[in-house]
Symmetry: C2
């Protein structure tokens, strides 16, 4: 599949661009470490890839090759949100290693536990801030490839306005759910539309922004209403929702080893997924009672988790979510058809498919 080769190329180009950037002025060492860690661990680089492919689809090979620092910028923006997200969610791991706040705490093994945990959290706040700034700086650097300053300024503006505002809103709404003390509330009020809305904010906007920025750089225009910019933005946004739906499916049916996290952890954490919402709607009274007792409970046993997981499958909630993800991909592909066919649109088609069918 050409997609995999392309993702490999995107990864190599981004890594080289990141390594060449002067980061050695970042001090102290734990702030430097926290800043570079997630990027250096690698990742699927889906956001850089969609940006580069969108530049190629609208501006051809030369354009595609001149947007590497913009591609790094969206990946850095993504890691900035991950670092802050991990503090907020108290997540101990990320991308196969310790999350930044844990990593920094562990750099001071002789200090008091409470103090070093606090310093780990504090440094992670600052490391996220640094990544946010680096994202802007990498985007500005795109002007060095000869793209006009007004286009580059619009690219920064998209990242910092609609994209950032959306991501933070999604994050805040998601976190706010933790304030709710009535355990049945997340099921009864979390309607399909509300859940999709949050996915659109937390995940969709950055995919959409990456594609739009790629297209604007490819066309060298600051007009974000150009039909190809709009079409690629819609394409990526739909793919982003499919990506998130598939994420929730993998959380129920995926391979523990491939994913690097225990299956059912979403159930234990009480994550408000569409699968949960749909299963609750369809379940009989025994099923509803099971969900209310197990989901989000610290006292849930492994057997309880397995029972809920089985219910997710038997009610058809997993299948329902899978079909919905494929519908989003269909929608995405109608938008993609508005772009003149090329090698790039072909890979974009594969990319869309991958978003809904990936196994990790």
């Amino acid at each position: 599949m050409i997609l995999y080769d392309y993702l490999k190329t995107a990864e190599e180009r981004c890594r080289r661009c990141f390594e060449e950037f002067p980061l050695d002025t970042i001090r102290p060492r734990e702030l430097y470490r926290g800043t570079v860690e997630y990027f250096n661990r690698g990742g699927k680089r889906l956001r850089p890839a969609i940006l580069m492919l969108s530049a190629g689809a609208t501006g051809g090979k030369t354009a595609e090759e001149s947007v590497t620092s913009a591609a790094c910028a969206v990946e850095l923006f993504h890691t900035f949100t991950l670092v802050h997200d991990d503090i907020i969610d108290n997540d101990p791991t990320r991308r196969g290693g310790k999350s930044v706040h844990v990593l920094v705490s562990d750099m001071f093994p002789t200090a008091e536990r409470e103090k070093r945990d606090e310093y780990g959290r504090d440094t992670a706040i600052l490391a996220g801030d640094m990544l946010h700034a680096l994202s802007v700086r990498f985007m500005l650097d795109t002007a060095k490839s000869g793209i006009s300053p007004t286009t580059v300024m619009s690219a920064v503006d998209i990242l910092e306005s609609e994209c950032l505002t959306g991501v933070l809103e999604g994050e805040a709404i998601d976190t706010r759910a933790g304030l709710i003390t009535d355990p049945t509330l997340p099921f009864s009020t979390g309607t399909r539309d509300e859940i999709i809305y949050m996915m659109q904010k937390k995940t969709g906007v950055l995919f959409s922004a990456s594609a739009k920025i790629g297209a604007m750089l490819g066309l060298d225009t600051s007009d974000d209403m150009h039909p190809h910019v709009v079409a690629l933005g819609e394409f990526a946004s739909s793919c982003g929702i499919a990506f998130q739906l598939q994420d929730d499916i993998l959380g129920v049916t995926g391979d523990e080893i491939k994913l690097g996290k225990p299956i059912g952890s979403d159930i234990r954490e009480g994550k408000r997924t569409l699968i949960l919402n749909n299963a609750y709607e369809k379940a009989d009274s025994d099923g509803k009672a099971l969900i209310e007792r197990v989901v989000g409970s610290k006292y849930a046993t492994d057997k309880d988790i397995l029972a809920v997981r089985d219910l997710f499958v038997s009610t058809g909630a997993v299948e329902y979510t899978r079909r919905l993800a494929l519908e989003y991909i269909d929608t995405a592909l109608t938008h993609l058809k508005k772009i003149p066919a090329s090698a790039y649109t072909e890979i974009l088609g594969e990319w869309a498919d991958f978003m809904a069918r990936r196994e990790l």
Copy 2:
């Protein structure tokens, strides 16, 4: 004094510019509130003022009048760092009101204490991120006044590279001091140069960046090595250190009501100030023992705090710090002389004086 009239004008112009910016897309309401709160509470607007005055000193009246959104940008950048700083330092108050994390927690009085405090902190992280992005967006908006895009891009770059890197380094070093468990260490190792270095990072760089950006916008140049840009940057950096030294002096000798915080709180918190360092060096063995026992101790009585405060004065440490602040102002004024004299350089001279003599 014309300075006070000027600061009032700066305040009014910034406030109008901020009010006209479309912020109503920020949701949920607590994220919106956390974002606008510190700006709306007002402040001395010293950073906007130095930016506007530097633009005026290099580009005249037209330039000075066209940089209001850049002036807002540096104030927003400042509030972004304050919001994150307040989480890190667990500060409950700021600018005469609750700090953002406390404010948000108090918006959910019926939720469990621990949960709403956590949500307050989480939302404050996000509000800081929003302010950081708004700072970039306001800076980009400067291009609407006809300043060339390459100049505006350089202005964003200065804020996001040397300025941000410096502020975060200063913040991290300052916070890291809390990890030190040996109570005598802050006195014996905190030499004058190290303390000044941290002040330069935490406070000096944003003053310096504000002046440099003002001058670059005034000259409409992206050359940050232009002699007037460099001179105004050095001017503001020296003033910034004098400002911070005066801050520490006010923490010992100031008026509780004007400052809005109890005198001696720096002593109770164990803040590593130059006054403390100098007093410890000059004190006899009884004085050293007093400092070691009281500074940074939660068990210190009001009488203890007063005794340390008296020691700060009797050893001459306060006077030493005051003289040093005035030396920094002298240095600042030599840099200011490199700029052709105008009504703007005159106010800048007053501004320098204010930085070292202010009483709040």
